[in-house]
Amino acid sequence: MSTPDTHAGHHDEGSYLSGPPGMIARIWQWASTVDHKKIGVMYLFAVLFMFFLGGMSAIAVRYELLDPIRTQTTEIVNAAGDIETITVTTGEGLKELLGAVGLGDGLTGSQIYNRAFTLHGAIMVFMFIIPAIPAALGNFFLPIMLGAKDVAFPRLNLMSWYIYLFGCTFGVLSILLGGIDTGWTFYTPYSTTTDADHWRVVLMVMAAFILGFSSILTGLNFVVTVHKLRAPGMGWFDMPLMIWALYATSIIQVLATPVIGITLLLLVFERLFHIGIFDPALGGDPVLYQHFFWFYSHPVVYVMILPGMGIISEILAVHSRKHIFGYRAIAFSSLGIAGVSFLVWGHHIFTAMGELAAILFSGLTFLVAIPTAIKMFNWIATLYKSSIVINTPMMYALMFLFTFSIGGLTGLPLATLATDLHLHDSYYVVAHFHYVMMGGTVIAFMGGIHHWWPKMFGKMYSENGAMLGAAFVFVGFNLTFFTQFFLGTQGMPRRYANYVDEFQFLHQLSTYGSWILLVGFLIHLGVFIASLMAGEKAPANPWGGLTLEWECESPPIEHNFHHEPILKHGPYDFETVVPPHCDPKDYPLPENPGKH
């Protein structure tokens, strides 16, 4: 087996972004790279593109919900003097929009709506939020924060990137062929019988299957990297908390994803060969599919949120210049969440199981609140009497504390059997889920991008522009989703294109919120483009961070470090260490460290 040196030769001391002259050579350099930084950057742009696609389908969903669908029959006198009955349907916003560009023939407004929310779910879950933080920011920063030159298996890393692309191609192909309306959960028997003449459902299911491989390989790579490539002197409890979070995430990815692999494979067999495992006509069980599906898809919710929690730990400590409070508690709570995550899948299907099982799953679900609350209290304790710097990453971290608290606390009524009976399958669930996933993960992701942007691209961004974008995102997000808590408690079911008139005001508020949210992200996009094109050169350590990535240059060199780093201080020793590349005058150490 050939083992070419993965980091041999050229550009040893140059920025990882520099490359050979010539467009083709540059493209080939990136397409064939085994450098974790380049792969991370490619992932970053890919997941942001998927976020755009998923976001646009969300905008479409909200647009359809602006007006309820109403059909009115009226009698009119036509030109010939006869009385004619005509039917007018209003409120099918999406159908009119698609009709204007010649699409959506033969589909009703509700059918188009079903496709829109399925695409939104499938793209956001499988192609955006699962790979977003681990594969993009994690790939870039995990090895650097450990003081390594690369991940353990660089070629496997590249392979996982191409598998991701391959999977996304399947998904996009399914959309181009007309999209699917099964919901992102592909529940049987609908997913095995619907749209029987087409390959669209199979393509989307295969996309999720293939993306699973990419996820497994990334997770496997990270676990081995954390075990084997820590810098000399870095024990387990000297690791930044971001690494702990990614480590816990990776364990879930490795252990949960194979189960969705076999589940989706069985679903494809069921659809193509009618093997009957999920088909009650042959003695199979559709609820078995739901158990299998959530056995993966519940743990994967923590794949989505745990890396976000890691980012928050980093941002809060660095931008408040204080040692993180309760380091070990935060580290172990990540592992705790990973452990509990495997035991709570049943709360997605309370009504499909016996009472005893439902009570057990309800009790286990409450356990998740403990490690989550431990994190939350430790973060707030970190902020107490610290030197908070208000900038974009910090704003996003504070936003996270606010929105994620709402997301977490609104989960408790869903874990309670009595209240869940009223709230399940309503907009309350939609609101709760988005407060956790968007108010948690996406907000943390945005914070992380701003925190590490100067390091990744060597350019600063416009602080004012980014703050403006963050403000729009905050207002838009809360307007979009807080209204949905009210809709849900008042009885608006999820996944419906239509509703009674009483709900229209709240639905309209929610839709207007989604537009504000869109404006916020477009402002961020503009700020990023402006930064890449004309940003001020970033210093090596703009925030005074102490983790190893702030010791490299901005952007890092090909090998990350000029010399193999040896760990001399902890990641959060702000009270005793002057940050690398920083002037001690800017970062005065307290006279009595440890005493406030």
Partner: protein
């Protein structure tokens, strides 16, 4: 890793000077030593094997649930399988696991000729397993209607849920057979590098070791599939 003085007389210069010969191979530059690289590769393989176990866990779980629901169909289904074919395949796989383990040891000892012989036997066993499976099992059953799900048309079925039994039989053994084929390809790659470059020796045998580990898990899964499918009546 074992370090052993090895005899290089008689090895053609073309092979000895190849950068892919085990003496000339170096660890990749992001590792501090070849030992660390080897440990990491092995650790990664173990993690991968745990994903394999979980993949098959889904099938075993489905098997357990439906066997509990339809014990009659399972007992009947098992009657239709020829335990001698299953036993023959078990013997084939166990034997090939032994030759795969041999291959690792022989690479460590730099016995290049016997390394290749053991690899070849392993590959032949893998192909033999797949051959027996397809020729004497699948091809003997499918034409008479012992097929999965709605393809089931066996006229003498005694239980309405037998199609489900066949579904799990074909999915379980089919995915396992796919793993056997992948294993054969993997050993084919090892054999090619062993033959062309003598890439594996006392200091460099990661791929031999990891292929053998993979092979053992494939073997182990069959050890569970065989009694659960063939021997339950």
């Amino acid at each position: 890793m074992t370090m052993i003085d090895t005899d290089i007389s008689g090895v053609p210069a073309r092979i000895l000077q190849s950068p892919k010969h085990w003496r000339n191979r170096k660890h990749e530059s992001h590792w501090r030593s070849g030992d660390e690289e080897f440990d990491a590769a092995k650790f990664g393989m173990w993690l991968f094997l745990s994903t394999e176990v979980l993949l098959f866990a889904g099938i075993f779980c489905g098997y357990a649930i439906f066997r509990m629901l339809y014990p009659e169909a399972w007992a009947n289904g098992s009657h239709y399988l020829d335990w001698r074919m299953g036993a023959a395949n078990t013997a084939v796989l166990l034997f090939s696991s032994w030759t795969a383990a041999n291959a690792v040891r022989l690479a460590q000892l730099d016995k290049q000729f016997w390394l290749k012989i053991n690899l070849i036997i392993t590959i032949i066993c893998a192909l033999l397993f797949v051959f027996i499976k397809f020729k004497f099992e699948y091809m003997a059953k499918l034409p008479v209607g012992k097929a999965p799900g709605t393809f089931f048309s066996y006229p003498y079925a005694q239980d309405v849920h037998e199609p489900l039994w066949w579904s799990l039989y074909y999915v379980g053994t089919g995915i396992h057979a796919f793993h056997v084929i992948v294993g054969a390809i993997l050993f084919g790659v090892v054999l090619w590098y062993a033959h062309r470059h003598q890439s594996y020796g006392p200091t460099q045998y990661t791929l031999v070791e990891n292929s053998a580990l993979y092979w053992h898990i494939v073997d182990l899964i069959w050890i569970f599939l065989f009694p659960l499918l063939y021997l339950i009546h």
